[in-house]
């Protein structure tokens, strides 16, 4: 039983990291009032780039770095269109998704299906690794797990809710006109955090293709970017919640994998539906059951609305 539980949690932590990282980036972008629906495409682009660079350099860290650079380049294009030129965020997001999925498959064609040269291998952290169940799951995995689940959310949470910079950031997402009036550079804030969010989405792709399923194949992101966008709603736009939501999603997928490994009498494609159906339930059930949730976990007020100073 303990072995089973340990395995389940380890898989959940590993698989959920992709979501936790991408959702963290989306939290930042949406907190400044920009919905980035291009996460799926940026993740695919990051995943393909990471594998290509990893094959050339045999260094997963350079792969991750390259993926984040490509992610932020994609984010800069998206921010240029939506923040500077104020085009529709929904359309540009979808366009970035098509562009990313198409481009990643085109550039990744040469390495499709090949095992990567170097992966983020598991490293056991002494002492902590020996804690039952939790030890192997969090401290016996690759070195990115702790940054994704603990360090990054902690930094984001502290920055958002305990610094002046974070207060300004949230003001830009809630009421850009008021933020502008007190001298907060709205456009700069939006551009910067959209790019940072996109870099994290690219990084999530690298984590997927170098740590979770160490290879590139077309369609490997398979909706994880969209799930990340959905988890941001479920997490109420809060960094710690986003990391937790990623872990919860990882657990749902892990149950599916467990079912396949243990030969449950359910077909594999049906078990693979679990993450999508689970996410659907995550975002519908809470608001239906608990009306107060809508007010408590409200989206930033100016989410999705381009800011134009002349229309103030």
């Amino acid at each position: 039983m303990i072995v089973l539980l340990t395995g389940l949690l380890s898989t959940a932590v590993l698989a959920g990291g992709v979501l936790a990282l991408a959702a963290q980036g989306e939290v930042l972008a949406e907190r400044v009032g920009v919905v980035d629906l291009g996460v799926e495409g940026l993740m695919a682009l990051g995943a393909a780039t990471a594998v290509l660079v990893d094959m050339k350099t045999v260094n997963p860290w350079l792969g991750l770095l390259a993926a984040m650079a490509v992610g932020s380049a994609g984010g800069a294009v998206f921010a240029l269109a939506t923040v500077i030129m104020r085009a529709s965020q929904i359309l540009c997001g979808l366009a970035m998704t098509f562009l990313g999925l198409g481009l990643s498959a085109t550039i990744g064609h040469s390495v499709a299906g090949m095992p990567v040269a170097a992966t983020f291998a598991p490293v056991a952290i002494p002492v902590l690794r020996d804690i039952p169940v939790i030890g192997p799951a969090f401290f016996g995995q690759n070195l990115l797990v702790i940054p994704i689940y603990v360090l990054l959310p902690a930094v984001c949470q502290w920055m958002l809710f305990h610094t002046r910079h974070g207060l300004n950031l949230r003001a830009v997402g809630e009421n850009p006109a008021a933020a502008d009036a007190v001298g907060i550079p709205v456009t700069k804030f939006r551009f910067l955090y959209v790019v940072i969010g996109a870099a994290l989405a690219g990084g999530a792709g690298a984590y997927l293709s170098l740590a979770v399923t160490p290879s590139w194949s077309e369609g490997m992101v398979s909706g994880r970017g969209w799930i990340a966008v959905a988890l941001v709603i479920f997490a109420g736009w809060r960094p710690f919640n986003a990391a937790g939501a990623g872990l919860l999603f990882g657990l749902v997928s892990a149950i599916g994998y467990l079912g396949q490994a243990q030969n449950w009498p359910i077909a594999a494609p049906v078990l693979n539906m679990l993450p999508y159906l689970g996410t659907l339930a995550f975002i519908i059930v809470p608001v239906v059951l608990w009306k107060k949730m809508r007010r408590l976990m409200a989206a930033p007020a100016a989410l999705g609305v381009p800011y134009d100073r002349s229309e103030r």
């Binding site: 269109a81 030129m85 085009a87 929904i90 979808l94 098509f98 494609p269 519908i284 809508r294 002349s310």
Partner: protein, 356 residues
């Protein structure tokens, strides 16, 4: 003094000019990338022109692409009239295909009875697939973009499961596919079947429904100003439910024609992104049900050109990237079309002693 000012509406002329520019830029970028990868762009362009609009096969393929695109484009357009986005066309397409295949595989009878039954079952399946996002949107205010989209992946897996499991082809052993359906939508011109004229008729019918009926009027008002619509006593919630179910049915109808007219089997991955490309079609059509037809033509042309490019050792996925590029530039063009030059009034000087 001339300056550019943003207006809340964009005139058709400006939109057309900016979009033409967007297309030129998109094609320029594609041509540049092709040239950089060492291909003769002029020859490729001539080849594309010859084998799309310049050949019988190209034209037939164009019509085959257009039929599902008109329907999935209409599906997104009707929801956009009430201010919503159905991004789940892909999933509803699959459900329509599954419903049609179920009738084709398990109900036997004359085609006159079977084909309409297929269409009805397909549309009911499509409506069932969008029902949960619809109710969540109408009664709990849950954003429909994510909920409709997530179900696409479930529908794809469902199709995969059916075509590799219970409904797999036991006759010829085709992979990820059902057996060939015994009935088919009759063809009218080469491989072009009745799906094409039906899709065009549906688009025209929707245009009348939206612009000439009080139901359509209520939908448009509910989309433009929900508060005003409720104040005027319009049943906005009922309209949201009806429009989204209609949208699901339209996308599912596209799936039915694809199964019964074009592919003749239910296959995993058969949708070819028609559901997603319907969004692009709807954006190009700017929420007009009639303009969906030329928009679908343009999109079909891109897909048709993609087939030619594939024969030239270019990955099929390059078409998706090109579509993304076009969509991005069109979205920017549509926003820029809101700006018009205005002549600023000269500043009045009332300095003493200066007479004019």
């Amino acid at each position: 003094m001339m300056r550019f000012q943003r207006f809340s509406t964009a005139t058709a002329g400006y939109v057309l000019v900016w979009r033409a520019l967007a297309f030129v830029v998109a094609m320029g970028i594609v041509a540049l990338l092709l040239a950089l990868s060492g291909r003769n762009v002029g020859e490729l362009a001539a080849l594309v022109a010859r084998s799309t609009l310049g050949s019988r096969f190209g034209l037939e393929d164009l019509a085959l692409f257009m039929a599902p695109l008109v329907l999935t484009g209409s599906a997104v357009t009707v929801t956009s009239r009430i201010g919503l986005w159905n991004i789940g066309g892909e999933g509803q397409f699959y459900l329509g295909a599954i419903g049609a295949a179920a009738v084709g595989l398990f109900v036997h009878g004359p085609a006159v009875v079977i084909l309409p039954l297929m269409a009805v079952v397909a549309m009911v399946c499509g409506m069932a697939w969008i029902a949960v996002p619809t109710l969540a949107r109408a009664f709990a205010g849950v954003n429909e973009i994510i909920t409709t989209l997530l179900l696409n992946f479930v529908a794809e897996l469902l199709t995969y499961w059916l075509t590799t499991g219970p409904w797999r082809d036991r006759v010829t052993g085709a992979l990820v596919s059902t057996e060939r359906l015994p009935v088919a939508v009759p063809e009218i011109w080469g491989v072009v079947h009745w799906g094409f004229p039906v899709a065009i008729l549906v688009a025209c019918g929707l245009s009348l429904l939206m612009s000439r009926t009080s139901w359509g009027y209520e939908v448009r008002v509910s989309g433009a100003n929900p508060g005003a619509a409720r104040y005027a006593g319009m049943p906005t919630r009922a309209r949201i439910v009806a429009v989204m179910l209609l949208s699901g049915a339209l996308a599912a109808l596209a799936g039915m024609f694809e199964v019964a007219g074009t592919v003749h089997r239910l296959q995993g991955g058969m949708s070819d992104n028609f559901g997603y490309l319907g969004i692009v079609v709807a954006v190009l059509a700017r929420r007009s049900c009639l303009a969906v037809i030329p928009a679908a033509f343009l999109m079909a042309l891109i897909l048709d050109a993609g087939i030619v490019l594939q024969t030239q050792q270019l990955a099929a996925t390059a078409v998706l990237a090109i579509t993304g590029l076009v969509l991005l530039l069109v979205a920017i063009a549509d926003e820029l079309a809101h700006y018009r030059p205005v002549v600023a009034e000269p500043v009045r000087r009332s300095a003493p002693g200066v007479s004019s």
